[in-house]
Amino acid sequence: MSLSSLLLPAVLFFALGVIAKLIKSDLRFPPDLAKVLSIYLLMAIGLHGGYELAKADIMIAFQSIIWALILGFTLPIVGYLGLVATRKVNPLDAAAISAHYGSVSAGTFLTAIAYLDNLSIQYETYPLIMLAVMESPAIVVGLILAAKARHTVAARNGATNTASKNSNEQGDFKEMLRDAFTNGSVVILIGSMIIGAIAQPSGMEKLKPFIDDIFMGVLCLFLFDMGMVAARRIGDFKKVGVMLAAFGVVMPLVGGVIGVYVGASMLDFSVGGATLVGVLGASASYIAVPPAMRLAIPEANPSFYLTLSLGITFPFNVIVGIPLYHSMAQAIVA
């Protein structure tokens, strides 16, 4: 875990974004830029991965998907229990927050890839499928945890209008399930992977400059922007309290350890691959899950989950986490 990893341009631009906001610069990126860049990044990584995956071992791919589902379903429950144990948040907030930790952050994943590439460390392509798979299940778990929490709360309060609510919830639940699996990021990522796998090689060749050559520069720009977004949330640190803020650091460590273990021991990946699975376990979604939670658990306070996932866990993973999970992977694989 050399310090030199911090000197990756991508990480440095993230830091620049954070600093820009800390010194109260008036620097503001156009509101649609981050979205455009993330569309590009997902598309590029998807095409690239799909192309590789066309040659992949279907058995390992299948196992990866199973483990992605297991991680996606388990991590939010771990997080939920941890949060409820702190007694610092109500169960609905706990459900909403922990859903974020079962899902993943493509930005963190891509930074990890830049990190590995820079050290010339090989990695398997399967974690990319896991990235796509893990976007959705956590949202579902969040919904289930919230339903449970609501029942608890309602039972406590004497449960007046539970009946009428329930009928409504049925329809909503179905709709949200569909939303979880047709989520925009998932569509781009899986769609691009399929295109990468089935498109004609001659066609793919022509895409190379777009998806490969300028990739790293776009990632830098994206992380620059996200650094500013994260920094705007760092200020809310005080609002969420020390206990919650600590969760934003401990939870990725827990998820990272579990992820690295799954990658190295269950899936038999190399150091690079295990590091990436660690990053999947450690990272928290800040694109797909927040709007889903606004819809599904409106009672939860968005300040909590946005501050944790965007303001604490994201910077922690980009700057400290990735090299750490890499060390862990080295330790386990060796």
């Binding site: 509101p31 649609d32 993330s38 694109i287 709007p291 889903a292 606004r294 946005l306």
Partner: protein, 106 residues
């Protein structure tokens, strides 16, 4: 001399993740016209940027006949009670083509 007719304009400020839900509600009550403007803002649930796809607010504007206001407001109130963050306000307006806003559901 162009005649002016009284109508109501219902304005809802909300997170853009609720747009589909709100439009559905309008259509359910036979309101087929609306206008949406992208916005940023701050309120009890913290600061909301106008970053599309991340965290953005919208202002939804609907011109309605007085007669439809109550039933829609009741639906909105139910949503607010469920926890949704909706900032709602109504203004008196004058229009020149009342038939446009008074027709019943299509």
């Amino acid at each position: 001399m162009v005649s002016l007719y009284s109508e109501k304009m219902l304005n809802i400020i909300s997170n853009d993740s609720l747009e589909e839900k709100l439009v559905c509600m309008f259509k359910k009550y036979g309101v087929n016209g609306y206008t949406v403007v992208q916005a940023r803002g701050e309120g009890s649930s913290g600061q909301v940027s106008d970053m599309s796809g991340f965290d953005a607010n919208i202002v939804v504007k609907v011109i309605l006949p007085e007669s439809k206001i109550q039933v829609i407001l009741e639906s909105i109130e139910r949503k607010i009670k469920k926890g949704y963050h909706l900032t709602v306000y109504i203004t008196d307006i004058k229009v020149i083509t009342p038939e446009k806003f008074e027709k019943t559901a299509s």
